[in-house]
C-alpha cells in the first residue's frame, strides 16, 4: 500500500472501445465512495482502434502528483488482443494484479504475459454485457471486476452508489438500470483469479 | 424592408444631420470619404449606429487620436478583423438588449477598403456573412492597397500599374483579372448584396445603403471609390470616372436580393472601355503603340463579365 491509501490503476484499450470511459467511471464510483480521485487518459492524435492508455489514482487525500502512472497497482486490459503487442504489465506492482477482458482462463492468458508472475484475473465482459444489456458494452463489467479485484472500494457502498448513479444517468430508460446492475453483479461474481 | 423610404427625396436626405464630419485626414478628393458620408446618410436620424472599420486609409485618417470623424460609436481593431469585430458588437447588442441593458435601435455598419475586404479580411467577412449577423459590410473599393502606397490587391484590374505590379519591359502591370467579390458574397446567400458608386443625385447609393442597413441579417455593399493618387487622375475628375465606369460596364450597378439578381442600370449605348482607361495614369502604358492588344483584352473582359451579369439578371 502506498501513502494515504493511494491505489493506482492503468487501463489499456483501443480508441473507441471505452477504456477512457471505464477509467472515468471508476473515478466517479470512487468519488461517490468519498475518495479523492484522478481519472485521465494519455492523449495522442490516434483514432479508433489505436492502443490507448488511461489512468486512475484513488486515495484518501488529494493527490497533487500529475504525471503518468509507470508503476500501477492494477492493470486493466479492455481488449485482450493488445496482449500481443503491448507490454501491459510493465512496471506493475508485484503485489498487484492484471485484469483482462477475455473468455479465456487465467492460465491461458498467463502464457501471453511476458515477465509477470503475479495474479492474472479474467472476466468475460463481452459475454456478460451481451447477456445483461443485449449489446457489447464492456465498461460496467470491467469496472466491477476492477473494484472487486483491487478492493479499492467497499463492496456494499460501491454497489449502492452504482445503482444510484445508473438511476441518475438512465433516468429516461429505467430498464437499462436493471441491465447494468445485473452486469455489475454478474461480473463481481464471475471474475476469476489465477 | 419596412424602414426604407418608398420614394427618394434628394434634398430631404441632405438635410439629415451629417454623421461623418470634416476635419478627417483623407486626401483631397478621396472616394472613401464620399462613400462613408453617403452610406451613413441612409440611417434614419433617430437610429444610432456602431461603425466598424478595417485598418486602411479611412481608419488612419478618420480616427486619429483624439479626433474621431464620426458622430456615432466607432470601432477599429485590425486590418483583417472588421467582419469579426462587428460580429462581436452585434452579438453583444443582442445579449444586452435581451437583458434590458440597451434600449433603442442600433445599426451595425463596417467599412473596409479592398485590401481589408477582398484580401486580408476576406475570411472574417465570409464568417460574419455565413453566421448571419445583422450587420452591413461596406467595401470602399479603390482597387489597390492605397494606405501603404498603392500595392496591387486582388481587386486591382488587369494591366493596372501598382507598386507591386509595376509596368516593366517584361511585365505590363498586373497580370490577373479583378476578383469578383460581390458575386462571391452573393454566393453566401445573404439577404442583400449590391454594387454601386457615386452618380448624379446619389439615388443609387442612398437607396442601396438604406436597403443594406435595414434588411435584417447580413448585407454587403461594394462601392467603387476612386483614389486620385493611386489611379493618377486630377482629384476633381472623380464624378466623370465614376460615370464612365458605369457607362462602360466596367463597374455595373446591380443588386442581389434574397438570391435574385437585379440590374440597376443598363446603359443605352455601352461606351468603349478605352474612354474609362484613358482618364487614369495607372493605365497609361496601355495606350502606347504596340499595346493595342491590352485595350482589346480589357474590352473583352468587360464584355464577358457584362454578358454573364445580364444572364444572371434575366435568369
Amino acid at each position: 500500500m502506498k501513502e494515504n491509501g493511494l491505489v493506482e490503476f492503468r487501463w489499456h484499450g483501443r480508441g473507441g472501445q471505452g477504456a477512457k470511459t471505464a477509467c472515468l467511471l471508476l473515478a466517479d464510483a470512487a468519488f461517490s465512495s468519498g475518495k479523492f480521485v484522478q481519472g485521465f487518459p494519455e492523449y495522442g492524435p490516434e483514432r479508433m482502434g489505436a492502443p490507448i492508455t488511461a489512468y486512475n489514482r484513488i486515495s484518501d487525500t488529494r493527490c497533487s502528483i500529475h504525471c503518468n502512472i509507470d508503476c500501477p497497482d492494477y492493470v486493466v486490459v479492455v481488449d485482450e488482443t493488445l496482449l500481443d503487442t503491448v507490454d501491459v504489465t510493465k512496471g506493475l506492482s508485484p503485489t498487484g494484479a492484471v485484469i483482462v477482458n477475455t473468455a479465456k482462463s487465467p492460465g491461458e492468458i498467463r502464457g501471453k504475459l511476458r515477465h509477470w508472475t503475479g495474479p492474472v484475473c479474467t472476466i468475460d465482459a463481452r459475454r456478460i454485457s451481451e447477456e445483461t444489456l443485449g449489446r457489447n458494452f464492456p465498461n460496467t463489467p470491467m469496472l466491477s471486476a476492477a473494484v472487486r479485484v483491487s478492493g479499492v472500494l467497499e463492496e456494499e457502498r460501491f454497489k449502492q452508489d452504482m445503482e444510484e448513479s445508473f438511476h441518475h444517468k438512465f433516468a429516461a430508460k429505467p430498464q437499462v438500470v436493471a441491465g447494468n446492475m445485473a452486469a455489475l453483479m454478474q461480473a463481481w461474481e464471475e471474475v476469476q483469479v489465477g | 424592408m419596412e424602414n426604407t423610404e418608398r420614394t427618394y427625396h434628394f434634398k430631404k436626405t441632405l438635410e439629415k444631420k451629417e454623421r461623418f464630419v470634416g476635419g478627417h485626414r483623407l486626401c483631397a478628393g478621396c472616394g472613401a470619404g464620399i462613400a462613408v458620408r453617403g452610406v451613413l446618410r441612409a440611417l434614419r436620424e433617430e437610429d444610432r449606429a456602431v461603425v466598424g472599420n478595417a485598418t486602411g486609409c479611412l481608419e488612419v485618417s478618420s480616427f486619429l487620436y483624439p479626433y474621431t470623424a464620426y458622430e456615432d460609436s466607432y470601432i477599429h481593431t485590425a486590418f483583417e478583423s472588421a467582419g469579426a469585430s462587428l460580429s462581436g458588437v452585434e452579438a453583444a447588442y443582442n445579449a444586452l438588449k435581451r437583458k434590458g441593458k440597451v434600449q433603442g435601435e442600433v445599426k451595425f455598419i463596417t467599412f473596409g477598403g479592398d485590401g481589408g475586404t477582398y484580401d486580408i479580411g476576406f475570411q472574417s467577412l465570409s464568417g460574419a456573412m455565413e453566421r448571419g449577423h445583422d450587420l452591413t459590410y461596406v467595401c470602399y473599393d479603390n482597387e489597390a492597397y492605397m494606405n501603404t502606397g498603392i500595392q496591387r490587391s486582388s481587386s486591382t484590374p488587369r494591366f493596372a500599374k501598382a507598386t507591386t505590379s509595376p509596368v516593366g519591359s517584361a511585365i505590363p502591370g498586373k497580370l490577373q483579372n479583378k476578383k469578383n467579390l460581390t458575386e462571391i458574397i452573393a454566393a453566401h446567400h445573404v439577404p442583400y448584396v449590391a454594387q454601386t458608386t457615386f452618380l448624379g443625385n446619389f439615388r443609387d447609393l442612398y437607396t442601396k445603403a438604406q436597403k443594406a442597413i435595414y434588411t435584417p441579417g447580413p448585407s454587403f455593399l461594394n462601392i467603387m471609390a476612386p483614389c486620385p493618387r493611386g489611379w493618377e487622375y486630377p482629384a476633381e475628375k472623380l464624378p466623370e470616372i465614376c460615370k464612365l465606369a458605369v457607362e462602360t460596364c466596367v463597374w455595373p450597378l446591380f443588386e442581389v436580393i434574397d438570391g435574385v439578381w437585379h440590374l440597376s442600370y443598363q446603359p443605352k449605348q455601352k461606351r468603349p472601355v478605352e474612354e474609362y482607361l484613358r482618364l487614369q495614369g495607372r493605365f497609361r502604358h496601355m495606350f502606347k503603340p504596340g499595346n493595342e492588344w491590352m485595350i482589346e483584352e480589357a474590352q473583352r473582359n468587360v464584355d464577358e463579365n457584362w454578358e454573364k451579369l445580364l444572364a444572371k439578371c434575366q435568369g
Binding site: Y43, S64, D70 | F63, Y65, Y74, H76, A84
Partner: protein, 393 residues
C-alpha cells in the same frame, strides 16, 4: 455554499462560465481547449445560459469578436490553446491596449512545429508581453477558482486589462478530479455585473475605440497600460482575499511550499508543481530543507515578492515548460533570476527547460534536480546554468 464534485479542468472552466453567464462567448475549437466551447454550446442549446454564442471561423476572429463585444459593453469570454492563441497574437495586443477586460481560458499546449497536441507553456509564454494578466493553475480546482477571480480583477476600474486563465492541457484539462464548487448565486454575487463607464452601445454618448495613435500619444498610452499592470498586483490580492473569505481557499501571487527554512528550492508553474511537491515532501522526510515556489501570477510578475521569499535560499532551480531559444534559458528563468539580482547574498541559480510537448515529468526528475542543488548549496560547482530535463541523450 461550497459543494463537492468531480470535474475535469475543462468541465470546471465551462461550468464556471455557465455560472457567470457571460453576455458573449466567441470561440473556435482547438485541442485541448475544444471541450470548453462544446460544453458551453450545450448550455446554450439547453437554454441554461443567456449568452450569445458566436461560433467564429478562426481564433483570430474569436478574439476580434470578443474585442467588439467587450467594447460594446458586454462581458466576453473565449477559450483556446496553442496555435489558436498564436493566431490571436495581434488581437491579444489590441484587446489589452484597448483596455478591454476580456477573459480567456487558455488550455496550454505546445506550439507547432512539429505539430504536437500535448502540454507545455510555449503558447502563453510566447504571448507574455501582450499586456494580458496571466494566472496559472496547478489543477482543476485552481483553474475554476482563478476563472472566478478573473473578472473582478480585470474589470476593476483601476486595472481594465484582459485576463488569461491558464491550465495544463490534458494533464488537468482532461483529468477528472475532485473539486469544490461554489453555488451559482454566490458566484454571481462574487463576480458581479460588468459596468464599464463608456461602451459602444451607451445611449448617452458614443465611444470611438482603436485610433491611430501618433508618436506624441502612443507612449503615453503604453505608460498607462504599464501602470495598470503594476497596479494589478494589489487588485489580484484584494480579490484573492475576498475569495478566501467566501471559500476558505487562499491564493497569492505565488504559492510558497515548505519555503520557511528552505535552502534548496524549485520555481515552476502549473501541474508539475504538484508533482514536485511529492519530491519536496520526500526530501523533507529525510531532513533535507527543500521547498518550492509555484508561480500563480506570471503577469504582472511578482519580482519583489519572489526576492523576499527566495532571499535565504542557497541554491535554486527555475524550471520552464517553454523554450525561448534565447540560448540561455526560458522566460521564467530569465525573470526570476533578474528578480534576485539585487539580493546580497543572492541564491545560486540554474535553469531547466522541461516537459516540452507533454514529455512526462515525475518525482524522480525533480529528485535529480534537488540532488544537484544540494551539491551546489554545499559549495559545489554551479555547472551549466541552462539545461534540459527529461530528454533522451
Amino acid at each position: 455554499m461550497n459543494y463537492n464534485e468531480r470535474l475535469s479542468g475543462n468541465e470546471a472552466i465551462a461550468f464556471a462560465m455557465k455560472q457567470i453567464d457571460p453576455d458573449v462567448m466567441a470561440a473556435f475549437p482547438i485541442t485541448p481547449s475544444t471541450e470548453i466551447p462544446q460544453y458551453f454550446a450545450q448550455y446554450v442549446a439547453n437554454g441554461e445560459v443567456n449568452t450569445e454564442f458566436v461560433p467564429v471561423e478562426s481564433e483570430h476572429s474569436s478574439m476580434s469578436a470578443c474585442i467588439g463585444a467587450e467594447a460594446a459593453g458586454a462581458r466576453a469570454v473565449t477559450a483556446t490553446s496553442s496555435a489558436g492563441l498564436a493566431l490571436m497574437y495581434e488581437m491579444m495586443y489590441v484587446a489589452a491596449s484597448s483596455r478591454l477586460p476580456i477573459t480567456l481560458a487558455c488550455v496550454n499546449r505546445a506550439l507547432t512545429g512539429p505539430i504536437n497536441i500535448n502540454n507545455d507553456h510555449s503558447d502563453s509564454m510566447g504571448i507574455r508581453d501582450a499586456g494580458w494578466i496571466q494566472i496559472y493553475a496547478e489543477n482543476n480546482q485552481e483553474a475554476y477558482d482563478n476563472f472566478l477571480q478573473a473578472m473582478p480583477i480585470g474589470e476593476h476600474p483601476s486595472v481594465r486589462l484582459p485576463v488569461m486563465i491558464c491550465q495544463d492541457g490534458f494533464i488537468t484539462s482532461h483529468a477528472l478530479e475532485n473539486i469544490v464548487l461554489l453555488d451559482t448565486d454566490s458566484v454571481k454575487a462574487f463576480v458581479g455585473e460588468y459596468r464599464p463607464e463608456h461602451f459602444l452601445l451607451k445611449a448617452e454618448n458614443p465611444l470611438a475605440i482603436g485610433p491611430y495613435d501618433l508618436g506624441c500619444h502612443y507612449m503615453e498610452h503604453k505608460v498607462q497600460q504599464a501602470e495598470a499592470m503594476k497596479g494589478a498586483k494589489k487588485r489580484i490580492l484584494e480579490v484573492a482575499a475576498q475569495f478566501a473569505a467566501l471559500t476558505g481557499r487562499e491564493y497569492g501571487l505565488f504559492e510558497a511550499y515548505r519555503m520557511e527554512d528552505a535552502e534548496i528550492a524549485l520555481v515552476l508553474i502549473g501541474s508539475s508543481a504538484g508533482t514536485a511537491k511529492v519530491t519536496v515532501d520526500a526530501l523533507r522526510a529525510r531532513g533535507i530543507p527543500a521547498g518550492l515556489v509555484k508561480i500563480r501570477v506570471f503577469r504582472p510578475f511578482p519580482a519583489e515578492e519572489l526576492a523576499q521569499t527566495l532571499k535565504n535560499v542557497k541554491a535554486l532551480a527555475i524550471l520552464d515548460k517553454a523554450e525561448s531559444f534565447s540560448a540561455q534559458g526560458g522566460p521564467l528563468f530569465a525573470e526570476v533570476r533578474a528578480a534576485l539580482y539585487d539580493l546580497e547574498p543572492r541564491p545560486r541559480t540554474v535553469g531547466y527547460v522541461y516537459g516540452l510537448g507533454g514529455r512526462d515529468i515525475t518525482p524522480a526528475h525533480f529528485a535529480s534536480v534537488f540532488a544537484r542543488l544540494e551539491a551546489i548549496a554545499a559549495g559545489g560547482e554551479l555547472g551549466p546554468v541552462y539545461s534540459h530535463l527529461g530528454q533522451r541523450g
